[in-house]
């Protein structure tokens, strides 16, 4: 795994439908400055910048990293852009970490953003190329059939998705950065919203957000303040069109989890991980990923959700921050998972802090559930 690496600063913007008051550059800078302030550093102290975002078609700015170099203090420094669809925020953190672990740099700023209000993600994801009749309508249209297949295989009761939608939004009420904060959110409220892509209801879907997240990563001898130590990092991908591909529980996700657990010495994730920030853009992905990530046996992830184990006061809280269901600046959503995992083990998660969290999982997935990025962070030096 190379040299030790730690998160020493985290910065987030408030996530909301439209940030009319800032440009894209202003948005990423806001997150970057907050991360630097948290680390007690300035741009001068940074050796390299790694930036991630989802497809350029979302804002219509080709290669935005070139234009954002100034805003991120990257002049004269290496700057790299990462792109792995929805998992990009996670991959961005991992590329940054690898620069530290490989001994290339001592302090790396990682930033990810999306300003979804500049266009429409469903449009950008459904570009109807000639000759092709994919008939997939946005991310919801793509993922709905796989959720339906999960429901069939697991025979999970219909209300499981509703429980996740309520639980994550209740957590969001404790997170000042969260986009969707719905006072009094309950099952009846979720169930009264229309089906968009059946079996996905409106309130079982993530919002479209503007926002950015940043972290300062440091090598061991540059650690300041309260670090979150990186105990394992892994990325995997798999071909979308492979025969016999399991779209409900992709092999790449299982392999990625196995790799990151092996590095962190984890053999029983449900017992050994204290809190997980997992990419759940549609509520049913919580039980699906509980199984894919080995927190529950196949077909039984929904039982953990139903029993309240993943709630903030459960034995393995998932998405204490409110998760992607509550804030979704797509390109940043993965990095937010990684950053929130770090904040938990730093004891700096505020009102949604899980008491005594020592080990946390950050997870992101993207594309047609074909890209995975994960890390394990801990309060203790590995």
């Amino acid at each position: 795994m190379g040299n030790r690496c730690a998160v020493i600063g985290v910065g987030q913007t408030r996530y909301q439908t439209r940030r009319r008051d800032v440009s894209i550059a202003g948005l990423v800078r806001e997150a970057a400055l907050r991360a630097l302030e948290d680390a007690g550093l300035t741009f001068k102290d940074i050796d390299a910048v790694v930036i991630g975002k989802a497809p350029d078609l979302f804002e219509g700015v080709m290669m935005p990293e070139a234009y954002l170099a100034d805003a991120l203090g990257a002049a004269g420094k290496p700057m790299t852009r990462v792109h792995t669809a929805g998992s990009v925020g996670g991959s961005t953190a991992l590329v940054g970490a690898s620069l530290i672990q490989g001994g290339v740099h001592d302090r790396v700023l990682v930033v990810a953003f999306e300003k979804q209000s500049e266009s429409n993600a469903t449009w950008a994801l459904s570009t109807h190329l000639p000759f092709n009749a994919s008939l997939v309508v946005g991310a919801g249209g793509y993922f709905a059939p796989h959720i339906r297949e999960y429901m069939r295989r697991s025979a999970a009761p219909d209300h499981i998705g509703t429980l996740v939608a309520v639980k994550d939004r209740q957590n969001a009420l404790k997170n000042p950065y969260a986009h969707l904060r719905i006072p009094g959110i309950n099952r009846q409220m979720v169930e009264s919203t229309p089906m968009l892509w059946e079996p996905i209801r409106y309130l079982e879907t993530c919002p479209s957000s503007d926002g950015a997240c940043a972290m300062v990563l440091a090598s061991e001898d540059k650690v300041t303040g309260t670090p979150a130590w990186v105990h394992g990092t892994a990325m995997r991908s798999e071909p979308m069109a492979r025969a016999d591909r399991d779209t409900v529980s992709p092999q790449a996700g299982k392999d990625c989890a196995a790799d990151v657990y092996r590095q962190a010495g984890i053999t029983d994730p449900r017992r050994e991980i204290d809190v997980a920030e997992v990419y759940v853009p549609f509520s049913w992905y919580e039980p699906m990923w509980l199984e894919n990530l080995g927190f529950a046996p196949e077909g039984e992830g929904w039982k953990l959700t139903e029993a309240g184990s993943t709630a903030l006061d459960g034995d393995i809280p998932w998405n204490a921050s409110g998760g992607v269901l509550s804030s979704n600046p797509i390109g940043a959503s993965g990095l937010i998972r990684f950053a929130e995992a770090a904040q938990q083990v730093r004891g700096m998660a505020g009102e949604h802090q899980v008491d005594g969290a020592r080990t946390a999982l950050g997870h992101a997935y993207g594309g047609g559930a074909q890209f995975f990025a994960m890390w394990i962070v801990g309060a203790q030096k590995p």
């Binding site: 009319r20 008051d21 219509g60 469903t122 459904s126 109807h128 190329l129 000639p130 000759f131 092709n132 009749a133 994919s134 008939l135 997939v136 309508v137 946005g138 919801g140 249209g141 709905a144 059939p145 796989h146 339906r148 297949e149 069939r152 229309p194 089906m195 968009l196 892509w197 059946e198 996905i200 071909p239 979308m240 069109a241 492979r242 025969a243 016999d244 591909r245």
Partner: protein, 300 residues
């Protein structure tokens, strides 16, 4: 029967208009307006009144002789939308009357805001004056035609034009659907059948050369009921389904129709509904949708 009441139109207007003496305070304000500046006057307590008043409303004391340039930008405090402007209104299209607190002022000025629509108006909106041309300014509040919102966003039209070539394997497949058959490719290394036909195997990377003709029947493995219309399926709800053609090892995504959306099932047997041969082109549109065959469902 009473006769129609008598009616007459009448205008009461002093010929040429009243000659109103401004006094020194209002006069200064209007003089500055003519020069393209907005000034307020300071009160003894130090507040800046815009528009200036001669006497401080709270104390009744005369204001000081201290004039302060304010704005020109300001913030909308409150507003009312005028959907149908009347004769004498400053604008001949819908606009807002607004209380605008100019930067540096302690009181708000009433003026018109030329916004695109009522949705553009909100408390806190930043606005700037749109002045009449200098030669037309006479020292009157209408020297400012109206206020307009500051520029906070711009539209960036982006259009890219491509020439798309489908490539050898997709061309071959489309020739098949023009002729009413589904062409698939078999990876001899993995023994897997891929449809649409492709020239390399996504699993092992081997070149695929063996073409296989598949029947136009298959099984719905899973599906979504879409309640959001799409240009390709404007009527909702519509069902987009993964259909595993008989003999294929990967599903294709296609519409399922000729059956109510909520009667579509995982495991349902379906057959392609083709466009008539004379309407077919080198396109997936040749397959209108898949429809149930009526056979018993397949156990998944």
């Amino acid at each position: 029967m009473p006769s129609e009441p008598l009616v007459a139109e009448h205008a009461l207007e002093f010929p040429g208009g009243y000659t109103r003496t401004t006094g020194p305070v209002i006069g200064r304000f209007l003089t500055e307006l003519r020069d393209g500046r907005i000034v307020g006057v300071r009160t003894a307590e130090g507040r800046v009144l815009v528009p200036p008043l001669e006497y401080e409303p709270e104390t009744g004391e005369p204001v000081t002789g201290d004039y302060v340039e304010v704005g020109p930008a300001g913030t909308v405090m409150s507003w009312a939308w005028v959907e149908s402007p009347r004769k004498g209104h400053p604008l001949d299209r819908p606009f807002a009357w607004a209380l605008i607190k100019l930067d540096g002022a302690d009181t708000a000025l009433v003026h018109a805001v030329g916004a695109d629509d009522a949705k553009a108006m909100r408390p806190g909106l930043r606005v700037r004056p749109r002045w009449k041309p200098e030669a037309d300014r006479i020292g009157h509040i209408t020297d400012i035609s109206c206020f307009v919102p500051e520029v906070t966003a711009m539209v960036a039209p982006i259009r890219m034009e491509y020439r798309v070539r489908p490539g050898r394997s997709l061309s071959r497949f489309l020739e098949g659907v023009r002729d009413g058959v589904f062409l698939a490719g078999r990876c001899t290394h993995c023994d897997k059948v891929y449809v649409p036909f492709r020239t390399s195997c996504p699993e092992c990377g081997s070149a695929i050369s063996e073409e296989v003709e598949l029947p136009d029947t298959g099984t719905v493995t899973t599906f979504a009921i879409n309640n959001l219309p799409d240009p390709r399926a404007p009527e909702v709800p519509f069902v987009s389904a993964y259909i595993q053609l008989d003999g294929a090892d990967v599903p294709m995504i296609a519409l399922v129709a000729d059956v109510p959306a909520h009667e579509v099932r995982q495991g349902m047997r379906v057959r392609a509904v083709w466009a008539p041969p004379e309407e077919r082109t080198l396109s997936m549109a040749n397959i209108r949708w898949f429809a149930p065959t009526g056979e018993p469902d397949v156990e998944l």
